[in-house]
């Protein structure tokens, strides 16, 4: 089995899975019918992407692995998503802030992944980038609306950005598997995306009349399977059916 490629794919796909699960859990709880549907749509886009990645990963893993076993039957330490996507929906501003800080990265990432020498990954990136382009538009738009909105919305948006900021640097970390894949021109060298990322994020925060956080201290660990306390709760919700009724199908 191509261990590095397998891990590399999980590193990409787990971000979308956990973020998709978070947004999906909000269904019916959005601040308005319209934003509720928008969040659910984004969730479904992400799950669609996840399925393509996991189907590919299952093929590489063999041993009877399926997209479902990869999604539902791993333990917490085996998930390789960044810490950012597992942060909770404290309020709508946090949901939007998390989405925005991830979307900007996701778009830059997929843009480069299209050039991957791995044809499957390149094809998934080409298919996904239009969806993610819209996600970024949606979340950026809301950052601006809330930031440049009322006193209350500005305060909440600022709190969300300031709190989540500490999870942004990890997006540009590389694991050993990532580095090996970059060597083979399969992976995106995420370190090269960092400047453009902060440039884009800062421009939108400025337009939203928000302060750009100055903190230079960043959290990390997700890419190595060391997570914040929130992931366990997300997984227990998400995995419940498969754990309680193994191999059940709808």
């Amino acid at each position: 089995m191509k261990e590095n490629l397998y891990k590399y794919i999980l590193g990409i796909a787990d971000n979308s899975l956990i973020l998709g699960q978070q947004l999906g859990a909000l269904t019916g709880h959005g601040p308005s019918l319209e934003t509720d549907i928008a969040c659910t749509n984004i969730s479904l886009d992400l799950f669609g992407q996840v399925r393509s990645y996991y189907q590919y990963a299952a093929k590489i893993k063999g041993e009877g692995a399926t997209e479902d076993s990869i999604a539902f039957l791993r333990t917490e330490r085996k998930y390789l998503n960044v810490l950012l996507v597992e942060q909770p929906d404290t309020d709508f501003a946090y949901t939007i802030g998390r989405q925005f800080l991830f979307d900007v990265y996701h778009f830059l990432f997929l843009n480069e992944l299209q050039k991957s020498h791995d044809v499957t990954l390149s094809a998934i990136a080409k298919k996904s980038i239009k969806e993610v382009s819209y996600h970024q538009r949606f979340s950026s738009d809301w950052v601006k609306r809330l930031g440049d909105g009322t006193e209350e919305s500005k305060l909440r948006m600022q709190n969300a950005i300031s709190d989540l900021w500490t999870y942004t640097d990890e997006l540009f970390h590389q694991t050993e598997a990532d580095k090996a894949m970059v060597e083979e021109q399969i992976a995106v060298d995420v370190t090269t995306l960092k400047d453009k990322y902060y440039e884009t994020v800062n421009a939108i925060l400025t337009e939203a009349t928000l302060e750009i956080p100055e903190s230079k201290w960043f959290q990390k660990g997700g890419k190595k399977g060391i997570h914040t306390e929130y992931l366990g709760y997300i997984l227990s919700d998400m995995q419940y059916m498969q754990r309680a009724y193994p191999n059940m199908e709808w």
Partner: protein, 94 residues
């Protein structure tokens, strides 16, 4: 929050359609948000290729109480329907 947002009417032109049709309404703070909300609410099953939104207050509607004088006089004038001659095949979209 939502109760402060104005109501918008959404018109979508579907893939095979030639004109925009009324699809429904939604709430949004401004025209940009109305367009994006319309995209999410009404075109998620790939129904459309073009969207128009207009704030509902800009629509002037006829009064149902006047339906008698407005519409009933047309009921007995069947000759106004183009059903008394054959349409050539070359004429499309009638």
């Amino acid at each position: 929050m939502k109760k402060n947002w104005p109501l918008w009417e959404v018109f979508v032109r579907s893939k095979n359609g030639l004109e925009h049709r009324h699809f429904g309404s939604l709430h949004a703070a401004d025209e940009q948000m109305a367009l994006e909300n319309a995209r999410d609410v009404y075109t998620r099953r790939s129904e459309g290729v073009s969207i128009w939104v207009v704030e509902s207050k800009h629509i002037t509607a006829s009064n149902p109480e006047n339906n008698g004088e407005l519409f009933e006089p047309a009921h007995d004038k069947v000759y106004r329907h183009p059903t008394f001659y054959d349409l050539p095949d070359e004429v499309k979209h009638m």
